[in-house]
């Protein structure tokens, strides 16, 4: 039997036989699994603040870390998401379930 769903570029593919349970399980697996380039919860927090247009210093204050730590997190996020800019990273993270709306 063909798998009900499969990981594809930029998201999950659901095929004809997919049940909601399959979908839920796969989403859970995909978002908490060992996928390469997975963001840490701290990186997710940073990216959500970036998406809201908060400055690096504002993010540093919010998370009570130094601005350099924020820059370090952002560099790691860009690397993991293969993004050239903050806006690109936000778009990529949105599709992967890494951004809170």
């Amino acid at each position: 039997m063909a798998p009900a769903a499969a990981l594809g570029p930029g998201g999950l593919a659901v095929h004809g036989a997919a049940t909601i349970t399959d979908t839920v399980n796969l989403i859970a697996e995909h978002t908490t699994g060992q996928a390469a380039g997975r963001l840490t919860s701290r990186e997710r927090e940073v990216l959500t603040l970036v998406a809201a247009g908060i400055s690096n210093k504002g993010i540093a204050r919010e998370l009570q870390v130094s601005p350099n730590t924020v820059k370090f997190h952002i560099a790691a996020i860009l690397e993991k998401l293969d993004a050239a800019s903050r806006a690109e990273a936000v778009v990529a993270a949105l599709r992967r379930g890494d951004l809170t709306l």
Binding site: G8, G10, G11, L12, A13, V14, H15, G16, A18, T19, I20, T23, V24, I27, A28, H30, T31, L49, V50, A51, A52, G53, I54, S55, N56, K57, G58, I59, R61, E62, V70, I74, S85, R86, A87, V90, V91, L94, R95, R96, G97, D98, L99, T100, L101
Partner: protein
């Protein structure tokens, strides 16, 4: 005395346009050598390109009347509009409202500024389309693409028509294209900033995952788009949790209209105002149901 030639008159008209518009422009210093452009929009607010600020919370703004350190009070990556507070400058209290759409083929003047003085370019509207949604989920009032020879210092520059009326802000697009963020879109952001002192952010409290549907599933679920948004996570204490949204729910539509995928859904949320109520149609366990959710305001961190 001889009357000026057509070419002299043409040159003089262009110079007049540039001279009239350049007092509106500012340079924004990024680091020691780089700069981008911006413009006095209205009252004490300067508008520039959000992406290029790279998370700065204060920038050095240089105009023809000197330098001033200006706080970044709004930075909207979705529309690429950032708003800075400076002195009153050359702009009036009057909003720049521009209902007439630019058309392909029209001439434009593009004025920016470096630390050393004004930058001026002339170009043509290469393409003008209807309203569109940027990849980042921003609602842009009109699709504008320009044909002009410009460099990175023009990012955030003022695009005016040949009557000298401001029409857009110049921003880089993909593959070296030059796009315009129309005055109406800038004004939408500026009006919110003026009302609240910052840009209020809507907050729902969900993380989404893109799903790709095969033909059979699309047919069964009555959808035309290949893509659909699934809920990957719900934040505790969020509006999404309060109305019973759960991981695994598939988002079918908002306020009676079908929503295609993650970006479209994010754009709809981004355009909603905190306090407004949205009706979300969701699919769960093979059945569709509708929930009403009151959009909250994203908690504004201390600036």
């Amino acid at each position: 005395m001889n009357s000026p030639s057509v070419l002299q008159q043409w040159s003089r008209d262009r110079l007049d346009l540039a001279t009239a518009l350049s007092p509106r422009t500012v340079a924004i210093a990024l680091g020691k050598h780089r700069s981008l452009s911006g413009m006095h929009w209205r009252a004490d607010l300067v508008v520039t390109a959000a992406e290029a600020l790279e998370g700065s919370d204060e920038v050095l703004v240089i105009s023809d009347r000197g330098e001033i350190r200006a706080p970044v009070i709004a930075c909207d990556l979705a529309t690429d509009v950032a708003v800075l507070r400076t002195d009153a400058g050359q702009s009036s209290e009057q909003a720049i409202t521009d209902d007439a759409a630019l058309q392909a083929g029209a001439g434009v003047v593009i004025v920016g500024r470096t630390r050393r003085g004004p930058l001026v370019g002339f170009g043509t509207v290469r393409a003008a389309g209807p309203a569109w949604r940027s990849r980042r989920g921003g609602a842009i009032a009109q699709r504008l693409e320009f044909d002009a020879a410009l460099d990175g210092r023009f990012e955030g520059a003022l695009v005016a028509d040949l009557a000298g009326v401001p029409r857009a802000m110049l921003v880089p697009g993909t593959r070296g294209s030059l796009l315009g963020i129309p005055a109406a879109t800038i004004e939408r952001i500026v009006a919110q900033v003026r009302q609240h002192g910052y840009l209020p952010r809507p907050y729902l409290g969900v993380r989404l995952q893109a799903l790709w549907l095969d033909h059979a599933t699309r047919a069964r679920w009555g959808r035309t788009s290949r893509s659909m948004a699934a809920v990957a996570g719900v934040e505790p204490g969020s509006p999404a949790e309060a109305c019973g949204i759960a991981p695994g729910d598939l988002l079918e539509g908002i306020n009676g209209a079908t929503v295609d995928g993650v970006e479209a859904f994010a754009a709809q949320i981004a355009q909603s105002t905190p306090g407004s109520v949205l009706s979300l149609r969701m699919r769960r366990g093979g059945q569709s149901h509708t929930v009403e959710v009151k959009i909250a305001e994203w908690r504004q961190p201390q600036r």
